[in-house]
Every structure is written in structure tokens, then in C-alpha cells.
């Protein structure tokens, strides 16, 4: 499948701060791509550059295999950081301005207002909207023109739990229509629940990239027990080439396997040593522990 967005070697330097360092990622068509990282890791800088509002220090990017132009911008709907509207205008008036800029027929404005549940408040001034309504109006504006790609920067920031659930549902519904979504978030839980692909950023560096499933299973924990004393199990495990780490925790032996190794291999290896394991469980790490590990690993360096 073709890539919607390709980024090569993107860097951005603000005076003394290297906000982004040699970032290269690709967003596949039809994916929900999560850009994950703590605050200040370079997510918004990345999106700002590919959306034409920040000038990169180095690097290039292509949308749909082409450089950014008026035409490619019309295929993208985006919301960067905060909802940006005229406070003294109503929701409807604000969306009409966006529609004019995107050269979209005004008939779409009503449809979009209904999609984001603001049809009954369209004649109220934007400044009177709650945070959740402002955010939904911004998503509505991004949906105008039926773009192929949605770029959403922290779309659930500052929302209450109900608002968060609504926005997530909206994103998943949009994704079902075959649109590609590029989503920046510092919430691991959000990326885990919504995304198919992800990239982890820290201090402007890319730490990991790929399908969410691959990144998660790359360092799955395998827990074994029985058939021999724990110390013996640990010793054998450490000697196996497929195991990168083994330790005794809570009367069990916890193993970390090399990337791409199936847990069945562990069972086979122990059986070859004459030990029949009574327990072998694979524990998927949560993205949270995954994330902390990626970040800690970096801090050690």
C-alpha cells in the first residue's frame, strides 16, 4: 500500500534547542498512525512542519508522493494544538470561513455540524462554547471537504471522560470510511486504544516505529515455572541464545526473548534439556510499560 506521508531526515532547531533531530517516518494509507511522546518531544513541531506553518532546518517530506501545494492541502484536514476560530463569530460563521478557504460548498457545513453534534448550537458565538464543543468544532472544520487524511494534534486534550470517549468514537468512525489518520498524543492509552501504527518520539529523536502489534510484541515477557528449581531454570534460560534476559521474580522466572522469537521455541529448548515446564505464559506488556522502557533506555545513554 502506498504511503500517505513520507518524512525524511526532518530536523528543526530553535536557537539552542534541537526540537527535532533527523526524523524519518512513513504513514501508510488507511492506517491510524499515532505519534507518541511526552510533552516537548517534537510531535507538534513535526506536524507543524508537514502542515506548512513551521520551516524545517533540514529534511524533506511528501504528501501522496508530492511536495506540499494548495492541491495536496485540500486532501488534508488538520487541527494543530488548539481549536483556532474567531471568538466573536458563531460556529456556523466560522465553518463557512473554513469552507471558503478550502473551496468547499457551504452545503457541507450543515452535514459536518451534525456529524460533530453541534447543529443545535451553530448559532451561538464560539467564545461561549465549552472546551469539548470547541474541540468538536475544530474536528468538524478538519472534516470539511471530505479529506483523505486527518491530522489531529492531541485531539482529546482537556476534555472530560465523556468528551474523550466521543472524540475517540468519532476518530474510529472516520477511520472506518477508509481515511488515514495521523494522531499526536502523549497519552499511551489513547494510542493503544485507537492506533494501528505508531512512532515513539523523545527529545526530537525517533525511538521506535511500526505497527502497534509489532512494537508491543517485540519485547513480550515469557514467564516459566515448574519442572526444576527456579535457579536451575534461570541458569538454563540465560544459556539459551534466544533469550536476552532472565530473572527470578515472585517465585517465577521471567524471560525476555529476542525479537521475533516465538514462545514455543522456549518450550522446545527446555524439553531438549530434559525439563518439562509446568507453566509457560506470554504476558503482553502494556504500552505504558513499553513506553517507559523505551524512554528509560534512552536516559541510560
Amino acid at each position: 500500500m502506498a504511503n500517505v506521508l513520507d518524512i525524511q531526515g526532518l530536523s528543526k532547531r530553535y536557537k539552542s534547542v534541537q526540537a527535532l533531530d533527523q526524523l524519518s517516518i512513513s504513514v501508510p494509507e488507511g492506517s491510524i498512525y499515532g505519534l507518541l511522546g511526552p510533552n516537548g518531544s517534537g510531535k507538534t513541531t513535526t506536524l507543524g512542519i508537514v502542515l506548512d506553518v513551521i520551516n524545517p532546518t533540514a529534511g524533506t517530506f511528501q504528501w501522496f508522493g508530492q511536495p506540499l501545494s494548495k492541491e495536496t492541502k485540500r486532501r488534508i484536514g488538520a487541527l494543530l494544538e488548539t481549536p483556532n476560530f474567531y471568538p466573536y463569530l458563531t460556529g456556523l460563521q466560522n465553518l463557512k470561513i473554513v469552507a471558503d478557504i478550502k473551496r468547499v460548498d457551504h452545503s457541507q457545513v450543515q452535514t459536518v455540524l451534525e456529524t460533530v453534534g453541534l447543529a443545535n448550537r451553530q448559532h451561538n458565538d464560539f467564545k461561549g462554547y465549552s472546551l469539548g464543543m470547541k474541540q468538536r468544532l475544530a474536528i468538524g472544520a478538519a472534516l470539511l471537504g471530505n479529506p483523505e487524511v486527518l491530522v489531529l494534534d492531541e485531539p482529546t486534550n482537556g476534555l472530560d471522560p465523556e468528551g474523550i470517549a466521543e472524540v475517540r468514537e468519532l476518530i474510529l468512525n472516520v477511520a472506518k470510511q477508509g481515511k488515514t489518520i495521523l494522531l499526536a498524543s502523549h497519552l499511551l492509552d489513547e494510542v493503544e486504544k485507537v492506533c494501528t501504527h505508531m512512532a515513539v518520539l523523545r527529545a526530537g529523536h525517533l525511538k521506535a516505529e511500526g505497527p502497534v502489534g509489532t512494537i508491543m510484541s517485540a519485547h513480550d515477557l515469557v514467564i516459566i515455572n515448574g519442572g526444576a528449581p527456579l535457579e536451575k531454570l534461570e541458569e538454563i534460560a540465560r544459556s539459551l541464545p534466544i533469550v536476552t534476559d532472565a530473572k527470578i521474580i515472585h517465585h517465577q522466572v521471567q524471560l525476555i526473548l529476542q525479537t521475533g522469537v516465538d514462545s514455543a521455541e522456549v518450550n522446545k529448548a527446555f524439553f531438549a534439556q530434559g525439563i518439562a515446564l509446568s507453566q509457560l505464559t506470554v504476558r503482553k506488556k502494556t504500552l505504558e510499560s513499553q513506553f517507559m522502557e523505551i524512554i528509560k533506555a534512552d536516559k541510560k545513554i
Binding site: 507543524g48 502542515l51 506548512d52 506553518v53 513551521i54 520551516n55 494548495k70 492541502k73 485540500r74 488538520a78 494543530l80 494544538e81 488548539t82 483556532n84 476560530f85 474567531y86 471568538p87 466573536y88 463569530l89 460563521q93 463557512k96 470561513i97 473554513v98 471558503d100 478557504i101 478550502k102 473551496r103 472544520a141
Partner: protein, 258 residues
């Protein structure tokens, strides 16, 4: 420049109370000053109805109107800095505008306001000339009415400079302050330091040369001539400055993160 850029700007400005308040102040003050001008007493002589006589009325009306260009400039500064405050400028670039579109859109507002105000000045001139003068020589009514055209260029010039300050400083209060300080304090100080034949080409001096003080010749017989361009000679430098201010606005946007 496409009509659609202006249409979007009008969607922002027409419902904007601040814009209407400033325009109402402009219209009301100009009317008021022209209304009471005939009572001005110089050397114990009140001008009376003769103040409103054509064709001498046209330079007087445009000279008075030139004082209120600052209001138009403030309106433009607000229109530009609002886009930074509300971060709508950024969103419009994301949604499909180029940086040149942004400057052209604001410049289309400058042109529209310039033409609207020049038209208002023209209508006021006709109104006072016809209703207040003791005799209305219809043959002379449009003699020297080109003063209104000079005023139009002047208003556009002031607003272009205001637009540049808006794009440069981004915050409305500071930008208005900087615009006023430059126009009313900084450039006059520079004029004071430089010989006339150089400072007459400075932007504020060029723009004010477009609407010279009526009866200046008489005034200068007493104080000695100060060198300034005639309106006709000020026209070309004024147009060049307008082009320069618009280009600098674009240049600022082009190389800045938004």
C-alpha cells in the same frame, strides 16, 4: 488578487463590532470637524460660509480627513493582529492559503476601506459644498476634486504601513503603539535631524505631502519655505512605499514560523 480572498475577509469583518465602532468614530469625527470648521477664527476673522466654497473646499476636506488615517491604520492593525491572537492565520495556512494569499487578503481590505473612505470624503465634500456655501458655482464643483484621489492613495499608504506593523509585531496593543510612535514621533524626529531635500522622501512625509495644508503658501511667506513634494510628485514615491510595505509583510511571513 481574487474576489474570494476579499469575501472571506468580509465574513470576518462585517459581523465584527470593533470594526464598525472604529469606522463610526471616523465618520462621525470627520463630519463634526467639517461642520464646525467654518467657526474657526484666524486673525480675528471667522471663515464663515466661505470655508465651504468650491473649489477651495476639496483640499480642505482631504487635509482634515488625513488626520483620521490613524484610525484606519488602527483598524488594520487590529484586523492583522487578531489573526495571530486567535491563531487563525496559522489555521488558514493549514487549510490551504499560501502566505501570499494571507497578505493579499489583508491588502484587499486595505483597498476596500481606502475606496470606501475616499468615497465618504467625496460625498461629504459635495454635501458641505452644496448646502453650506453662500453660492454654489456648479462649473467649479469638480475643479481640484482630484485631491480626493490623492487622499485615497494616502489612506492606502497609511493602512499598508499599519499592516506591516501588524505582521511585524503580532500583538495588537504593541503594534498600535509602535505604529503611532513611528508615525507621530520617530519619523518627525528624523525629519528634524535631516535636511529637507532628503527627509521629503521619507514615508510619512511623502504620504502627508499628498494632502498639503490649505493656505500653506501664505503661511510660508511668513515662516520661510519648507521643502516638500507637491501631491503630484509625491504620488510615485507613495505608490512605491505601498508596494514595499506589502512586500515586507509577505517577506516577514515567508521566513517566520507561525
Amino acid at each position: 488578487m481574487t474576489p474570494s480572498l476579499l469575501r472571506v475577509e468580509l465574513r470576518k469583518l462585517l459581523p465584527y463590532k470593533t470594526a464598525w465602532v472604529i469606522l463610526a468614530i471616523f465618520a462621525a469625527l470627520l463630519f463634526l470637524i467639517l461642520h464646525i470648521s467654518s467657526n474657526v477664527t484666524i486673525n480675528g476673522q471667522t471663515a464663515g460660509p466661505s470655508f465651504y466654497e468650491f473649489p477651495g473646499l476639496w483640499p480642505k476636506v482631504t487635509y482634515v480627513a488625513s488626520y483620521f488615517n490613524l484610525l484606519l491604520g488602527i483598524l488594520i492593525v487590529i484586523a492583522v493582529t487578531d489573526e495571530f491572537t486567535f491563531r487563525t492565520l496559522r489555521q488558514q495556512i493549514i487549510d490551504g492559503y499560501t502566505r501570499a494569499d494571507v497578505v493579499q487578503a489583508k491588502y484587499s481590505v486595505v483597498l476596500l476601506l481606502g475606496f470606501a473612505c475616499a468615497l465618504y470624503v467625496f460625498v461629504l465634500g459635495l454635501f458641505f459644498g452644496i448646502t453650506r456655501a453662500t453660492e454654489v458655482p456648479f462649473s467649479k464643483m469638480y475643479v481640484d476634486a482630484e485631491a480626493v484621489l490623492y487622499y485615497l492613495v494616502q489612506a492606502i499608504g497609511y493602512m499598508s504601513l499599519a499592516m506591516l506593523f501588524g505582521f511585524l509585531i503580532k500583538k495588537s496593543g504593541l503594534a498600535i503603539l509602535a505604529f503611532l510612535i513611528y508615525a507621530k514621533i520617530l519619523e518627525p524626529i528624523i525629519h528634524y535631524q535631516l535636511p529637507d531635500h532628503i527627509d521629503k522622501y521619507f514615508p510619512m512625509k511623502v504620504l502627508s505631502s499628498l494632502t498639503p495644508m490649505p493656505g500653506k503658501e501664505m503661511f510660508e511667506m511668513v515662516t520661510g519655505a519648507s521643502e516638500a513634494l507637491t501631491p503630484m510628485h509625491a504620488l510615485l514615491p507613495a505608490v512605491l512605499y505601498i508596494g514595499l510595505f506589502s512586500f515586507l509583510s509577505y517577506f516577514l511571513l515567508r521566513f517566520r514560523d507561525l
